[in-house]
């Protein structure tokens, strides 16, 4: 007999509930959102955010934090809208090189025992600078195939929903189910015990940073596909959004406790929060504040839930 009501399941329950509540309120305010096109519009911009959130979650799996996520996604967007469009081979080479750089950052952080926030904060200026060099003014153009893919309309279910589910499932298989994912989460949970079992921690860190870069690149691709062009500051908000998404989805800053499905749900919730405000005819200026409020409410719920759980156990 398996106890389904585990802490991990409970962790997912609150974000899922908050997304449902938010969605129901939006449908009540604007019944027309309850259609194929309506849902696509609501969730379209969630796809790149969800990918960036997964990338951030991977870094947080090993108790690190990536403060360069937003500038890195912007950098990728600039590369995609320029090099990948005009000279695909060079574009792919640049993106591949950026994955190598991320892996090297993981090695550096581990070997020199540096705080990841300092290293990635520094790197954020590097990525931002490179992005400005590539695209000094907003411009560029999305590759045709990418644009075609992002605006494609599969039957019955909008692309945004399919993509979100796909991202969640792939990330879940990768980090929660695969034997590799177990070792990566183990590094976050108890580094010493993983080391004692004969694993190379350097390799694990390099792997997780490279995987994160891969997901961040996918985020940049999706973003350019939707926006059709790029800008060096296009994704700056993603740094904090991705961290908030992971936390909202039940992840924690330390201890290797993460949930890919929750992270995607968290990203969707944060995107919906913006639409929710515009349906209420409140200025988008309030958006960040509203996202913060949602975060506080959900975290308060989680604390309450944990306390109840503890009481139940000690009783």
């Amino acid at each position: 007999m398996i106890n389904w009501f585990t802490r991990d399941a409970a962790r997912l329950l609150i974000p899922a509930l908050s997304l449902t509540v938010l969605l129901l309120v939006i449908f009540y305010l604007q019944p027309r959102a309850m259609s194929y096109n309506g849902l696509n519009l609501l969730f379209n911009l969630a796809v790149p955010i969800a990918l960036a959130t997964i990338a951030q979650m991977l870094i947080m799996t090993v108790n690190d934090l990536d403060l360069s996520m937003g500038t890195f996604v912007s950098f990728v967007a600039c590369v995609v809208a320029t090099f990948l469009n005009t000279n695909p081979l060079l574009g792919v080479a640049i993106l591949a090189a950026s994955i190598v750089v991320y892996a090297a950052l993981g090695v550096l952080i581990h070997v020199r025992n540096l705080p990841s926030i300092v290293v990635t904060l520094g790197m954020s200026f590097v990525w931002g600078g490179l992005a400005v060099l590539i695209l000094p003014a907003p411009g560029g153009q999305s590759p045709v195939w990418l644009r075609a893919f992002m605006v494609s309309k599969p039957p019955l279910v909008p692309l945004a929903i399919i993509a979100s589910i796909l991202i969640a499932v792939v990330a879940h298989l990768l980090i929660m189910r695969s034997s590799l994912g177990v070792v990566l989460r183990g590094v976050g949970g108890n580094l010493r015990s993983v080391e004692r079992a004969g694993w190379s921690i350097v390799r694990a860190r390099a792997t997780i940073y490279a995987l994160a870069a891969l997901f961040a690149i996918l985020a940049g691709l999706a973003l350019v596909g939707l926006a059709t062009s790029a800008d060096a500051n296009i994704a700056l908000r993603y740094t904090l959004l991705s961290i908030a998404g992971v936390i909202l989805g039940g992840g924690e800053f330390v201890g290797g406790r993460v949930s890919p499905i929750g992270a995607v749900i968290g990203a969707l919730t944060l995107t919906l929060a913006g639409s929710f405000l515009s349906f209420l005819r409140i200025s988008p200026d309030w958006q960040i504040g509203a996202q913060g409020m949602i975060l506080i409410v959900v975290l308060a719920l989680r604390l309450l839930f944990n306390r109840l759980e503890k009481q139940r156990k000690s009783a």
Binding site: M1, I2, N3, T6, R7, D8, R177, S179, L180, V182, V183, R185, G186, G188, G189, N190, R192, S193, V194, E195, R196, A197, G198, W199, G255, G256, R257
Partner: protein, 487 residues
Amino acid sequence: MTMAGPQHAVIEVTDAKMSFGAVKALDGITLAIQPGECVGLVGHNGAGKSTIVNVVNGGLTLHEGRIALGGQPVDKYNVKVARDHGVRCVFQELSLCPNLTVTENTRIIHSSLSGWGWRKRASSVVRAKLDEIFPGHHIQVGALVGDLTISEKQMVEIATAFSEIAQKVRLVILDEPTSSLDASLAAQLLKYVRAFIKTGGSVILISHILGEILSTCDRIVVMKDGKVVAARPSPEFTEHSLVESMGSVVKGPSARPVRDISPGTPVLSAARRREQGLPFRAHKGEIIGLAGLGGHGQTETLTDIYLRHSGNWLREQTPKVAFVAGDRRLNGVFPLWSIIKNMSISHLADLSTKGLIHRQDEMKLVETWKAKIEVRTKNVENTILSLSGGNQQKVLFARALATRADVVLMDDPTRGVDIGTKQEVYSILRSEADKGRTFIWYSTEMDEICLCDRVYVFNNGAIVAELKGDEVTEKNILAASFMGAAA
């Protein structure tokens, strides 16, 4: 190459020498584990048990000495080589990943569990092993380790160590495996150990419960100060003779100043811990030793006393207790600060008016204490890290002594401090005690405990013995530390 004969030792460590700073952890140890034998390893704190265990499992590299596996000398010995040879270790402090399930932790320990269906294989292996060692356990292999009780965690750790997946398990090191298991689970484990030995496996068992060692092991190795002082088949030992061989050569009655503080009203007292053992009390001007094996509740007692007698939110005007931390780097020094700031931090309230610190007063205080306890530095403005370990510890002593606290709690403060500094610290303690201060001193070193006026011996989280005056001897302390769990 011929096959290694059955008579070759599973692992043989010859002339092992290791030192950490001034401390000689291993001083020429030779240890060979034969296939199909259970070796008991006993000794008091600092005897070198943990060090030799870490050498055998590949976690530490020997400074001097040789290691041979199955009769073949090995040049580069590390965790991976050890694991490939079938050497496993169950650590004293639990070392599972709390965020993973039992099955997933099995995967961490066994790198060969991968590819499709690894989850199913891992679950069946660990479930079968749990059933075999601890029949009637209620552990679900899909449960998160963080949700298990401490004894369940220990059971899982033991089961994963004994699980065979790719390599045969040749040697399992059990470091205090029964400390968090109750009596019936401990019996199940020891029964399994005997069965494992019969099939040709080897076990190194470390335990403070001598009854367990005597009944389970074929051979017992007694260690002291990084040396093997006795190694004989277990039937030749009794609990009494084991305790005796752990002690040093019997010294004449030491010239210990025997002081018996007349039992007036204690300045401090604490109830019994976990409803077991003796209550704790301390009188004015006493030096009280907390003895026993490391990690048996001494540090917890000190922190309990400290937390109970210090303000919860706000600092009290006159603190009743001061604390000298043992782990300097973790909770002692402020590494970026100067010696002055490190010393005066606990005293700042008395040195300042309206939130501003009087530099002159601070300097005067620091210079006084610097002279009193002889901190060896030219300039107290230097950073604390410019001092040697012993002198850093002296600064921490000064920090506690400079307060007006009547009671000073010390959590094994002389760890890794050279002998000269220790002597100086002892005389400071004695003179401060004569002035009416009370010291509560947890030490892992027998010599220090023997300096105390009164000693409480801890065993399994409770005080099991109170020794005073001439009763404070190494023999009595050892006997109480290694008393069965029943005491």
